[in-house]
C-alpha cells in the first residue's frame, strides 16, 4: 500500500496518543469575561484595512506579506517581533537551498486519495501549478509539502477538537518534487471550513497548507491556498493579516476547467511566486538540478 512509503501517522495513531496537549487555540474567548464576537473582530479588521487604504492613497508602497503584528489573530500578540526585521545581505549558505530528490519523496505521495484502502469522502480535486522565482524562473527539483483538513473540516491532528467526523480513508498529507518547469500537482479532496476559537463563531475559510523551498534558503515559504469565492474571506483574521487585496488574491486558486479531469475531479490552478533571487546566476546554471540524483 502507498502509505508504507511515507512517514505519515494514521488516523488511529494520532487519536490514540496519550500525550497531553494544549488545545489548538488556548486564547479561546472564554478566557476573557466579555466574549469576543465576530462583530468585534470584524470591526478591528476593517479599521486596520481603512488605515492601510488611507496610507496607499498617500503614496505608500503596497504591502506584499502578512503583517507580523496583526492583533485580530489573538495568538500573534505575544508571538511577533517588536523590533524591525534587521536588513541583511544573504551570504554563503543562505544563497543555496537544501537539495531534495526523488529518493526523498515517493511518486504516490502526491495523491492524497489513495493512501488508504478505500476512497475518501468528499469532492475530489486536482491542484496544480508552478513554483517560480521573482524573475519568473521555474524552481525545478524542489520539495512541495501540503496538509489539510478532510471534507468535513477535521484534521487528523490530535489537537483538533472540532466535533466533525474523521475519515478513515483520508490523512490529508502530501508531498511532491517539482518538475523541470517548476510544476507540481496534487490529487486530493476539497477541504471543509472549520471553527478555530480565535473568537466566538470564528471559522477558517477552506484552505490547503503549502510548504515550499526555492533555490535559495531565503525564499523558504509556508503559506495557505484558498478557494475562489469563499464567503469567509472578510471574516478571517489569518487571511486578512495580508492587508493588501492584490496580495491576498495571490493565495486564491483559480478554477480551471482545462485541469478538470472528466468523470473524475475538478481542477484548480495556483502558481507560487517566491521572493526574488539574490544569487548572481551564470547563464548556464540550471535551477535545482542538483536535487535530482536519479
Amino acid at each position: 500500500m502507498p502509505q508504507d512509503h511515507t512517514a505519515q501517522v494514521t488516523a488511529t495513531e494520532a487519536l490514540e496518543s496519550e500525550e497531553l496537549v494544549p488545545p489548538a487555540e488556548p486564547h479561546a474567548a472564554h478566557e476573557t469575561k466579555d466574549v469576543e464576537t465576530q462583530a468585534d473582530l470584524s470591526a478591528e479588521i476593517k479599521a486596520i484595512g481603512a488605515r492601510y487604504a488611507e496610507a496607499l492613497k498617500n503614496g505608500k508602497a503596497p504591502e506584499t506579506m502578512p503583517r507580523l503584528d496583526y492583533a485580530p489573530y489573538r495568538s500573534s500578540i505575544l508571538r511577533h517581533p517588536t523590533k524591525s526585521l534587521h536588513h541583511a545581505d544573504p551570504e554563503t549558505i543562505e544563497l543555496y537551498s537544501p537539495a531534495f530528490g526523488h529518493q526523498d519523496v515517493h511518486a504516490l505521495e502526491s495523491d492524497l486519495t489513495i493512501q488508504h484502502n478505500g476512497e475518501p469522502q468528499g469532492e475530489r480535486i486536482i491542484v496544480s501549478g508552478r513554483v517560480l522565482d521573482g524573475d519568473g524562473r521555474p524552481v525545478a527539483g524542489q520539495l512541495v509539502e501540503i496538509w489539510q483538513a478532510n471534507a468535513s473540516g477535521r484534521y487528523i491532528h490530535k489537537r483538533d477538537q472540532h466535533p466533525a467526523p474523521l475519515d478513515p480513508n483520508f490523512t490529508g498529507v502530501g508531498r511532491c518534487i517539482t518538475g523541470s518547469d517548476g510544476s507540481y500537482s496534487f490529487t486530493t479532496i476539497k477541504p471543509g471550513a472549520y471553527p478555530w476559537k480565535n473568537h466566538l463563531n470564528a471559522w477558517r475559510p477552506a484552505h490547503i497548507h503549502f510548504s515550499m523551498f526555492g533555490s535559495e534558503f531565503t525564499q523558504r515559504i509556508v503559506t495557505q491556498m484558498y478557494f475562489p469565492g469563499d464567503q469567509l474571506f472578510p471574516l478571517d483574521p489569518i487571511y486578512q493579516s495580508i492587508v493588501d487585496q492584490d496580495a491576498r488574491d495571490r493565495l486564491v486558486a483559480q478554477y480551471d476547467h482545462e485541469l478538470t479531469s472528466p468523470e473524475w475531479a475538478l481542477g484548480y490552478k495556483w502558481d507560487i511566486i517566491l521572493t526574488g533571487s539574490k544569487r548572481t546566476w551564470t547563464e548556464n546554471e540550471a535551477y535545482g538540478d542538483a536535487g535530482d540524483e536519479e
Partner: protein, 196 residues
C-alpha cells in the same frame, strides 16, 4: 529587483504536527557518531512563556565549510550529510538537533547556521542565524554581527556546552528578542507593525 510580486506567506497554524515532522528529521547525522554535536534550546514568547507549537529548520555547511547539495534529507541513509534538518519543539518549548559544527565557508569567516522559525500565531516565517561562539576575531569582522549593538548581537551567538554541544534560545518578542532578518532590499516586505 524581482519582476513578479511574491506570494504572501501565512502562519504554519496549529496542525502541522502530523505533516511536517518525519523520521530522523532533526538528526543531520546519527547521535553519537564522530563529530556529532547537539544543538538545543527553547523558544519563548513575549511574556517569557515557552512556545510548545513552533517548528524550526536549520540549513548549514558541513564541518569543512562546504555547502552540500545532496538529496536524502527526508529519507536519511545514516551516512549522507545533507546540511538540512527540521525539529518541532516539544511541549516544553525545547528543540534538539544532532548536527556538526559548521565550518567557515570562506577562510576567516564566522561560521553560522541559517535558521527558519515557524509557529502557530506567527504570521510568516522568520529567518535568523546562530553563530559558533569561538572565533572572536571572525565574529568581530562579521558584516551582520558588526552592524548590531552588543546586546542584540548576543542573541545570535550560541553558548558552548561542557559536552561540546550548543545551546541557543529563540525569543520571538521582548527586550532580549532574537534578531530576525530581512533579506529583501526594497523595504516593502515583511512589515512588522501597523505604521500607517
Amino acid at each position: 529587483m524581482s519582476k513578479l510580486a511574491p506570494t504572501p506567506g501565512q502562519t504554519v497554524g496549529p496542525f502541522y504536527g502530523y505533516a511536517l515532522p518525519f523520521n530522523k528529521d532533526n538528526e543531520l547525522l546519527a547521535p553519537g557518531s564522530p563529530g556529532s554535536i547537539r544543538l538545543q534550546g527553547t523558544v519563548y514568547d513575549g511574556a517569557g512563556n515557552t512556545i510548545p507549537d513552533a517548528i524550526l529548520e536549520i540549513w548549514q555547511p558541513d564541518s569543512n565549510g562546504n555547502i552540500v547539495q545532496r538529496a536524502g534529507s527526508l529519507v536519511r541513509d545514516g551516512y549522507t550529510f545533507t546540511g538540512w534538518g527540521r525539529a518541532a519543539v516539544g511541549n516544553s518549548g525545547m528543540y534538539t538537533f544532532t548536527t556538526v559544527n559548521p565550518g567557515p565557508v570562506k577562510p576567516g569567516a564566522a561560521a553560522f547556521i541559517s535558521v527558519a522559525v515557524f509557529a502557530r500565531g506567527l504570521m510568516n516565517r522568520l529567518f535568523t542565524r546562530v553563530y559558533l561562539p569561538e572565533n572572536e576575531e571572525a565574529l568581530a569582522n562579521d558584516p551582520l554581527l558588526s552592524s548590531l549593538d552588543s546586546e542584540r548581537r548576543k542573541t545570535l551567538i550560541a553558548r558552548r556546552d561542557p559536552d561540546g554541544g550548543l545551546t541557543w534560545d529563540i525569543r520571538l518578542q521582548g527586550g532580549d528578542e532574537t534578531v530576525f532578518l530581512d533579506f529583501q532590499q526594497d523595504g516593502s516586505l515583511d512589515l512588522v507593525t501597523d505604521q500607517s
